[in-house]
């Protein structure tokens, strides 16, 4: 819009274009060179200056950029005669925005609009400012009340005026115009424009029809809309969405046009919502027969019979009939069987029919399965098709949950059958390029699923190891199968071989936007692990990606704007908001400082400097306050998660065996949302509570000595108390009651079960309570100033809980998961925070600087305190030494024994029950590969297969984790020993 007269900001566009091209391709030096030349000709052009500022900023020269920008702004505001166009202003705005001077940016536009109140371009620019992010606060202010509607009206008025004087030349502008009208429900106005002269701006006929159909439907003219959708389907017979809209129109059902909101789920439920109850019998009958006839026609006209749409359309019609009560589900089942006979060999069969199967009863699903099974005798003569059909049968069993109804014996049989099928069909892939997916690859994923279920049922570790072996075997033959890698990373995580899991994760090459959608596979386990360096990288990379995007998003929005793709402008802003509200982003932002605090907890000075960089945790307290009212988005893609852990909060293997009802993957957002809010609310209090605890423990000595005469800051004590109250409340108690609970548990009057699954939070609470109690007289009965009561409380809680765990834990190699993650958390969180309180106390007891040790009578409270500290140090040391020994023992136990534990249960040749049967099939295959049948590549891969190597990797993966944990314990022990020496001198 800036180039109406071939001028951009008063400069011929041909001179400016090379600058933008250079900027767009990030050649900033070139851009700066051209701009300098330009400025020599137009030294007082605000636009040229704005360009220079933009380039300087992008080169990282913020100060220079700001001064050039201010110069341009001053010129703009001072010189009345200067051209003040939108391009100049938006360029300035983007620089100001990037320099964090939102105020200056906004004032530029306000000034311009004040100066030229009737300038359409400027008003449009201002409107765009509201729509995009530049003045988000204002946008919100405007949107409070009925501002949004007014704004739409303003926009409409402006566009109308613009059309009247200049018409429109951009299809994108037209699309925005439609969207503005649509949001005001002015459908007939929009339709009039669409069918008028302007409509010809939309060059792709189908696009035009889609808009027309939608507008008609939203206006309630369903009959005409249905005709439009028919036309679309005649042009693109394979358009599924158009078909659903077509049905929606026939049945006068507006549910598919409801507006999307920003936190609408990114993966909508597969089930297609539809309303039918408002129709009479006759109406339904006549409409459905129209639809059937039309679908028949589409099918007949279809040029190739690989088009799935007409056949799926038939299924959808049968589904609606069933939902309306016209048919029983037999017809739907019949239609599904027909679909199978045509498309059963396709890998997408099960995902195609999933939504249809959802509406029929479990008995019918079984009946469907039975009928399919009968079909399995008449598989296609083409081997690849026959294999596809067989795999579909298995996937359908998984889909309807049948695998959970089989007995252990049947499951084993099924796994063996699948492994055989895989083996037999390997020759089909003989000629394939190693990069191409192999035939039957999915079989091994299903075998793994079955074996993991067998492990869940029987707790026989053999099945679990066999599941790992199956996938590793698959990767030996073709190393690119990401589905195997994801399953493996979860199995390894569950087995405590987290470093191995992380290796598999890295091989998935999860980067850029995939970090938002895929890192849920790895991040949660890492948060409770001792692999701090890896975790730190994971979080850092993710936060960097998100923050980089937030920074560059304004530029990209502007790019869309300059290329007149206005619909993308709006889309970019909404997308940025969606990412900013990402629940995972929020969690990562909270976990990142907590990790730093964990890493430095053995050194109070380092810890304090981290706290200082976190503004002593104040911002996080703020976050905790706000989280309840923040809207959150859930962008994780859970489709690829294994059945046993459908979300990151759920892991069936941790509990006893229970049947799983139909795919519980959906509609968990509500539950997850509450959970995330809870976590963030609690965790974001930690930095502040740690800070206050350190303070509380260190002012204590100054309080009773004359070192600098100042009294303890009463604010610290009262703030810590407030936070303790909040923390207690989150655990479901008042402060007094929560204290009673921890006292009760520590005295053995209550069991640890009182803490439920919040053990870490309870122990944190006890630690912070002790820190607060050092400075408060309120809980005299439990301790009071400098008396050891609350010290003892924390010591005994940590001691009995942690040692109880360690003493009851089986060796890692024999028990997947177990309590290692909780043990790591106990040591690196509550115990570490308690260690900080101790460090702070010791420091304040020590004579500061070169002052001589205090001579004379040591006052009684100090002596009590030093005694308590000594006890606490002793207690923590005792705990850590035992934990370290436990880790060391496992690391040191002979590797060969451990490998044997893993492999020998699988090598029981000739057994026809228990684990090892699938393994045996592969071992047989490997022992004598038929090179002519399998080809050179696969044969070579088979020769490379070594189960012992896999076992060795598991063992060393576990050892890596244990070693890291041991190292953490040792470092804490060392630090405590130093404290012990120091306190001995007091």
């Amino acid at each position: 819009m800036a180039s109406k007269f071939g001028l951009a900001g008063g400069i011929p566009e041909r001179r400016v274009r090379p600058i933008w091209d250079a900027i767009d391709s990030r050649q900033f030096k070139t851009a700066l060179k051209i701009t300098t030349t330009l400025l020599s000709k137009h030294p007082h052009s605000p636009y040229a200056l704005a360009l220079k500022a933009l380039i300087l900023e992008r080169m990282g020269k913020s100060d220079e950029a700001l001064s050039v920008c201010l110069n341009a702004k001053e010129l703009l505001c001072r010189d009345e005669s200067l051209l003040m166009d939108d391009l100049t202003l938006s360029t300035l705005q983007i620089v100001f925005q990037r320099l964090d001077h939102l105020d200056l940016a906004t004032s530029c536009y306000e000034h311009a609009c004040g100066k030229f109140p009737n300038n359409l371009e400027l008003m449009m620019g201002l409107f765009n400012c509201y729509v995009r992010e530049y003045s988000f606060v204002k946008q919100q202010q405007v949107l409070c009340g009925n501002g949004g509607e007014k704004l739409l009206l303003l926009a409409e008025g402006l566009l109308k005026k613009h059309v009247a004087s200049h018409s429109l030349h951009e299809p994108e502008a037209l699309i925005v115009y439609f969207s503005i009208l649509e949001q005001q429900e002015k459908y007939s106005d929009a339709l009039e424009i669409l069918t008028g002269k302007l409509g010809s701006l939309l060059m792709i006929e189908v696009d035009k029809l889609r808009i027309q159909g939608k507008l008609l439907a939203r206006a309630g003219d369903y009959a005409t809309a249905a005709n439009v959708y028919q036309k679309i389907l005649e042009l693109c017979a394979d358009d599924w969405e158009a078909f659903l809209h077509y049905l929606g129109c026939l049945f006068e059902d507006d549910s598919c046009w409801s507006n999307e909101t920003i936190n609408a789920p990114i993966h909508p439920p597969k089930f297609v919502e539809c309303k039918l109850t408002h129709l009479t019998d006759e109406v339904f009958d006549s409409r459905i027969s129209n639809a059937s006839a039309f679908v028949q026609k589409l099918r007949a006209e279809a040029s190739n019979d690989s088009l799935r749409n007409p056949y799926l359309a038939h299924l959808e019609i049968e589904r609606r009939k069933f939902l309306f009560g016209k048919n029983n589900d037999d017809d739907l089942i019949e239609a599904l069987l027909q679909y199978y006979s045509r498309f059963g060999h396709l890998a997408c069969f099960t995902s195609d029919v999933e939504a249809f199967l959802q509406v029929v009863s479990p008995e019918k699903k079984m009946e469907f399965l039975d009928k399919l099974m009968k079909n399995s005798n008449s598989l296609s003569a083409v081997p690849t098709k026959a294999l596809g059909q067989s795999i579909t049968l298995l996937k359908t069993q998984e889909l309807i949950g049948n695998m959970f109804r089989l007995s252990v014996g049947e499951l084993e049989g099924s796994a063996v059958q699948m492994a055989e099928l895989y083996r037999k069909n390997l020759p089909l892939s003989k000629e394939l390029d190693p990069q191409e997916s192999m035939h039957g690859e999915e079989l091994l994923s299903i075998v793994c699923n079955v074996l993991v279920q067998l492990f869940w049922r029987t707790r026989n570790l053999g099945y679990f190891v066999e599941a790992i072996m199956v996938l590793e075997f698959g990767l030996t033959i073709r190393r690119y199968v990401w589905q195997y890698k994801i399953l493996l990373l979860h199995l390894y995580s569950h087995f405590g071989a987290l470093s191995l899991a992380y290796e598999r994760y890295k091989s998935l090459d999860v980067k850029n936007i995939l970090m938002e959608t895929v890192s849920h596979h790895m991040l949660p386990q890492m948060l409770a692990s001792p692999l701090w360096a890896d975790l730190s990288n994971l979080i850092k990379d993710y936060l960097k990606f998100m923050d980089d995007h937030f920074r560059e998003s304004a530029d990209l929005t502007f790019l869309a704007y300059r290329h007149r793709n206005y619909s993308k402008v709006i889309e970019f802003v909404q997308f940025k908001e969606r990412l900013q509200h990402s629940n995972q982003y929020l969690v990562a932002r909270v976990e990142s400082p907590i990790l730093q605090l964990k890493q430095s907890a053995d050194n109070i000075e380092e810890e304090e400097s981290i706290l200082e960089s976190l503004k002593c945790g104040i911002d996080f307290v703020e976050l905790s306050n706000e989280i309840g009212s923040k809207s959150l988005t859930f962008n994780e893609d859970f489709q690829s998660r294994p059945w046993w852990t459908p979300t990151k909060e759920k892991n069936y293997l941790l509990g006893p065996f229970e049947g799983i009802s139909y795919y519980p993957k959906e509609n968990l957002t509500k539950e997850r949302e509450a959970n995330v809010r809870g976590i963030v609310e609690r965790k974001s209090l930690l930095p502040r509570m740690i800070y206050l605890s350190i303070q509380s423990a260190s002012v204590l000595q100054k309080d009773s000595s004359e070192i600098n005469g100042s009294l303890a800051d009463p604010k610290i004590s009262s703030e810590l108390k407030t936070l303790l109250e909040r923390y207690a409340k989150m655990l479901g108690f008042s402060l007094n009651d929560a204290v009673d609970v921890v006292v009760g548990v520590s005295h053995g009057l209550k069991s640890y079960e009182a803490f439920g699954s919040d053990i870490i939070d309870w122990l944190n609470f006890a630690v912070f309570f002790n820190a607060w109690n050092l400075n408060s007289h309120e809980f005299g009965q439990h301790g009071g100033e400098c008396t050891p009561g609350s010290w003892h409380l924390v010591n005994s809680l940590l001691e009995s809980y942690i040692l109880g765990k360690v003493r009851s834990m089986e060796p890692l190699i024999q028990s997947p998961q177990g309590d290692l993650p909780i043990l790591v958390q106990l040591v690196t969180e509550p115990l570490a925070w308690h260690g900080l309180v101790i460090q702070s106390c010791v420091r304040s007891c020590l004579p500061s600087g070169k002052k001589k040790k205090k001579s004379g009578s040591m006052d009684q409270s100090l002596s009590l305190l030093t005694h308590a500290i000594r006890d606490a140090i002793q207690s923590l040391c005792g705990i850590l030494e035992e934990v370290a020994k436990w880790s060391q023992d496992q690391i040191n136990s002979p590797e060969d024994n451990k490998i044997d534990i893993l492999v020998s249960p699988l090598r029981r040749n000739g057994q026809d029950e228990g684990p090892g049967q699938v393994f045996h099939i592969f071992e047989t295959l490997v022992s004598s590969p038929n090179e002519t049948e399998l080809g050179n590549r696969i044969s070579q891969a088979l020769r490379d297969w070594s189960p012992v190597d896999v076992a060795r990797k598991i063992v060393s993966g576990q050892c890596t984790v244990l070693s890291e944990f041991w190292r953490i314990c040792e470092s804490k022990i060392k630090s405590l020993k130093t404290l012990k020496q120091q306190i001995a001198q007091v």
């Binding site: 767009d24 994108e172 060059m203 792709i204 693109c236 394979d238 358009d239 599924w240 969405e241 158009a242 990114i266 993966h267 909508p268 597969k270 690989s306 088009l307 799935r308 749409n309 799926l312 396709l346 890998a347 997408c348 995902s351 195609d352 939504a355 390029d433 990069q435 191409e436 690119y480 990401w482 090459d509 980067k511 850029n512 936007i513 995939l514 938002e516 959608t517 895929v518 990606f545 995007h549 560059e552 998003s553 530029d555 990209l556 929005t557 790019l559 869309a560 290329h563 793709n565 619909s567 993308k568 889309e571 970019f572 909404q574 997308f575 969606r578 962008n635 893609d637 489709q639 690829s640």
Partner: protein, 174 residues
């Protein structure tokens, strides 16, 4: 069963199962968004039931004079939707837009010289190897520049193969 529509930002959050494939590159955000911002008509996604992403194509239109051409930057199909001619459909769409809306002379694309299955597929779709670009991929592997002439290039001049390979810095566009 396939709705082909413009790619939008939210699709970036849906395409994990397509992009986890080792041959599909996940670019940085500014790359995707620059394409969306500048050539939204050249970035399309195919969607199956349940709004599952089946595959997508991204491209652009650029060049001067008779080098004005459509370019395929990436085209990819999820494993479960392969062997259904989806890539062909997506390519056809980009060719149509280059041909009819932007009146380009040809469409081109780059492919790893070792990626035989892809080269075969493009040949089936009417593309010819125009020239070899030495060490185009990360300075290691050669790339093949494949082209297909559009209706505006009546004499099909744009696709007459070059006799010698070129180096990446000889390329007019990247």
């Amino acid at each position: 069963m396939t709705t082909i529509r413009r790619f939008c930002c939210n699709d970036l959050l849906r395409f994990a199962s397509v992009n986890l494939d080792h041959l599909t590159e996940t670019f940085n955000m500014s790359f995707y968004m620059t394409y969306l911002a500048r050539w939204p008509d050249y970035f399309h996604v195919a969607e199956g039931p349940g709004k599952r992403i089946m595959g997508y194509i991204m491209g652009k239109v650029e060049g001067q004079g008779e080098y004005w051409h459509g370019h395929v930057t990436a085209v990819t199909v999820a494993p479960e939707y392969r062997r259904q001619q989806l890539a062909k459909k997506l390519m056809k769409l980009l060719e149509d837009i280059s041909d009819k809306i932007d009146k380009a002379f040809f469409v081109d694309l780059f492919v790893r010289a070792s990626n035989t299955p892809a080269i075969k597929m493009y040949e089936k779709l009417g593309y010819v190897i125009y020239r070899r670009v030495l060490r185009y991929y990360s300075g290691e592997e050669d790339g093949l520049d494949m082209r297909k002439a559009l209706s505006r290039d009546v004499e099909k001049k744009s696709i007459i193969p070059l006799k010698r390979p070129v180096t990446p810095d000889e390329l007019e566009y990247d």
